[in-house]
């Protein structure tokens, strides 16, 4: 009898048990209350590999309910194999609706992009974070970086940016550009391109950053100031796509993928798959575009 009941429902709603979900939500609330601060959390094992979006799943599955509409992208694309796999899993575990349409989604999980289309206060965006500790590059020990954050001692970080400028003539940070949140904590925006970084600031949306392997959650609440680190005379710059047009739509002003063709030629296509689809249909969704200082 007991056995029969045991296998009737293989897993709890949303896979994770309720008490752990509650714990994760509490840690998220703490992270919202202290923008940019990395909150340690239990991070239970998931049936997908560590480093493949377990943190994102923790956040998504502890937030999601049957009325939610879920969208997931990987490197900007809804159709990426890992995004498909995670979408199927979330759908199977929750019975939620899924969508490719950015505007329709109530929860957007993403790996390394923010959609081009402006997100609203009805949406939550969950980032998959490989390395939550932005200071790891300048200080390898966790117990020291925690202390540095506590004391707002970011001298090593500033020096590394300065050294990069002296050596190479620019701040050579690609994706995952360091930002200061609410004038206090320096955090990683996860490896999103610089193109997306300005969209974190004073957005209408709640941003949840979850790193499963490293067991940390940090948040940027709506309407919070997020400043990329820069010097008075050396400014933060987004990727330049000067004179580059999308080979499918002919449009510009979006993050582009560089595609090499069999004959050695090179072309560009808009990275955000849903944005591209909407352009093809004729409308251009609202965007927040950042203009590089000249």
């Amino acid at each position: 009898m007991i056995e029969a009941k045991k296998f009737q429902q293989a897993y709890n709603y949303g896979f994770i048990d309720e008490s752990t979900k509650k714990e994760i939500r509490r840690k998220m609330l703490k992270a919202v209350a202290i923008p940019g601060y990395q909150v340690p959390y239990s991070s239970p094992e998931m049936p997908i590999s560590r480093g493949w979006g377990t943190g994102g799943l923790h956040a998504t599955l502890s937030l999601i309910g049957p009325d939610d509409t879920f969208k997931i992208i990987d490197q900007g694309s809804d159709a990426s194999v890992n995004a498909c796999n995670l979408r199927n899993f979330v759908k199977r575990m929750t019975g939620c609706k899924t969508t490719f349409d950015t505007a329709d989604a109530t929860i957007v999980q993403t790996r390394h992009r923010i959609p081009e289309e402006v997100l609203t206060d009805k949406q939550i965006i969950v980032f998959q974070v490989p390395q939550p500790e932005i200071l790891r590059g300048v200080e390898r020990f966790e117990f020291k970086t925690r202390q540095m954050h506590a004391e707002a001692d970011y001298a090593k970080m500033w020096v590394s940016l300065y050294e990069s400028y002296v050596k190479f003539g620019a701040i050579m940070r690609g994706a995952g550009y360091p930002v200061k949140v609410n004038g206090r904590y320096i955090m990683t925006p996860s490896p999103i391109p610089r193109w997306d970084v300005p969209n974190l600031s004073h957005s209408d949306t709640l941003h949840v950053f979850a790193a499963g392997r490293e067991k940390r959650i940090h948040c940027v609440p709506p309407h919070t100031l997020v400043e990329p680190l820069e010097f008075e005379d050396v400014k933060f710059m987004v990727e330049k796509f000067e004179g580059i047009r999308c080979s499918v739509t002919g449009e510009g002003d979006a993050f582009m993928d560089e595609i090499y063709e069999a004959d050695g030629g090179r072309k560009h296509v808009i990275n955000d798959s849903n944005f591209l689809d909407k352009l093809k249909l004729g409308g251009r969704p609202n965007q927040r575009l950042f203009v590089n200082p000249s």
């Binding site: 239990s42 094992e45 998931m46 990426s80 992009r113 490989p130 050579m172 940070r173 690609g174 990727e239």
Partner: protein, 392 residues
């Protein structure tokens, strides 16, 4: 666009998983039963139960069968399954003094009370392929078992229920001191690393839990490093024992309830502790290892690392953070393999930096009117690549 933006992502996943199942079955050899895997791949089962941190031989056998024998993947499946199970009780402290010992050795003394018991081990066999196994039959298995049975001389004497511990003798003499006699309350707290993210410096209970769940190969590598040259001590095995211990929980009314037994390997390493003051007398300190199943390499390595992590020194095995984070098999396995995920957005962002830097350099060269040799530019590119480590 390769394997990314194809709209057939879902079909591709589906076909890939069918194809890997096909690989498992295509030879049409007789299917392995769970019983066969459980009983004949004892070492593999024990290993993944330990690394998966779930004592469940049937589930481990199923996992090992499903993943075609890969211990990393097998341990991962058990961990994922474990995470879905309700946590009803914490067991009371295991009493390894009352272990039903199958094997017990000490390399610190020639003879020990209760005797050295070699037990089941391949230690003193020559590692030659046994070609007879290629033609093993039910008959040959049966006659082997009958031989064993006929040689057994059952006596009425009761087997010893427990063996005293070698380390207890050293403790009585004051040569070996307890590890945490002078540690404060927080460090003695028993934490559950699966419910609470580890923080450093971690209490010993957390460190030992992490090591007990760590990957055997990772443990062996770091323990070996500390013995070979990146560490000081050559440790001595005070006692290594393998056997079954009973597990009990306390019910709501506070009564102890026996819930079953598990096989474990326990290792106690003794080595001299460096003294800070000149005048103080040196003493021995303990390194402790305990893991599920029969896995001596892991228990010994664990003992060495438990010991080395408590010594302040510059070597990798002396750093708690270094050891605990990097021996965690499920995490290192996952992250190493995540490199197979597409990274073209992050890569593009890095490319943008490199191109801008090259452009700046070309402009500088043009302005200076000087032509620098091309090799210089190449070196510079390498440096630039090193400067963009965030391509995660």
């Amino acid at each position: 666009m390769g394997y990314v933006a194809i709209k057939g992502g879902e079909d591709a996943i589906d076909n890939a998983s069918r194809l890997v199942e096909y690989e498992r079955l295509k030879s049409e050899s007789p299917p392995l039963t769970i019983e066969q895997v459980k009983t004949q791949f004892r070492a593999g089962i024990d290993r993944i139960m330990g690394e998966g941190s779930l004592y469940a031989p049937e589930h481990a056998a199923l996992a090992l069968k499903q993943v075609e024998g890969c211990t990393l993947e097998g341990a991962f499946m058990l961990r994922a399954y474990r995470a879905t199970l309700k946590r009803s009780y914490y067991s009371t402290i295991l009493d390894t003094r009352s272990m039903r010992v199958e094997r017990r050795i000490s390399s610190a003394f020639r003879e020990i009370p209760g005797g050295q018991i070699l037990g089941p081990t391949r230690d003193y066999t020559v590692r030659l392929l046994n070609t007879d196994l290629a033609s093993e039959t039910f008959g040959s298995v049966k006659s082997f078992l009958e031989d064993i049975d006929s040689e057994l001389q059952l006596s009425d004497e009761e087997a010893p229920r427990s063996f005293c511990k070698v380390v207890d003798m050293l403790k009585e003499q004051g040569i070996l001191r307890p590890v945490d006699e002078d540690e404060e309350e927080e460090k003695r707290r028993v934490v559950d690393v699966t419910r609470e993210a580890i923080k450093f410096p971690a209490p010993r209970s957390a460190a030992l839990q992490m090591l007990a769940r760590a990957e055997t190969g990772g443990i062996a590598a770091l323990a070996y490093s500390s013995m070979r040259g990146f560490g000081s001590a050559h440790p001595t095995i005070g006692e290594l024992r393998v056997g079954h211990v009973g597990v009990s929980v306390r019910d709501r009314r506070g009564r102890s309830r026996y819930i079953g037994r598990i096989r474990v390997t326990e290792c106690e390493i003794v080595s001299k502790l460096k003294q800070k003051g000149k005048s103080s007398v040196p003493y021995m300190s303990l390194g402790y290892g305990l893991c599920f199943g029969h896995n001596e390499t892991k228990a010994i390595g664990m003992g060495i690392l438990d010991r080395s992590m408590r010594v302040a020194d510059e070597h990798p095995a002396n750093s708690q953070e270094f050891v605990l984070y990097h021996t965690e098999g499920i995490e290192s396995y996952g992250f190493t393999n995540h490199l197979k995920l597409p990274h073209y957005v992050t890569f593009q962002s890095g490319l943008d930096n490199l191109r801008n830097a090259m452009k700046r350099r070309d402009e500088e060269d043009r302005n200076a009117g000087a032509k620098k040799p091309k090799t210089m530019l190449n070196t510079q590119s390498q440096e630039l690549a090193d400067a963009s480590p965030e391509l995660l």
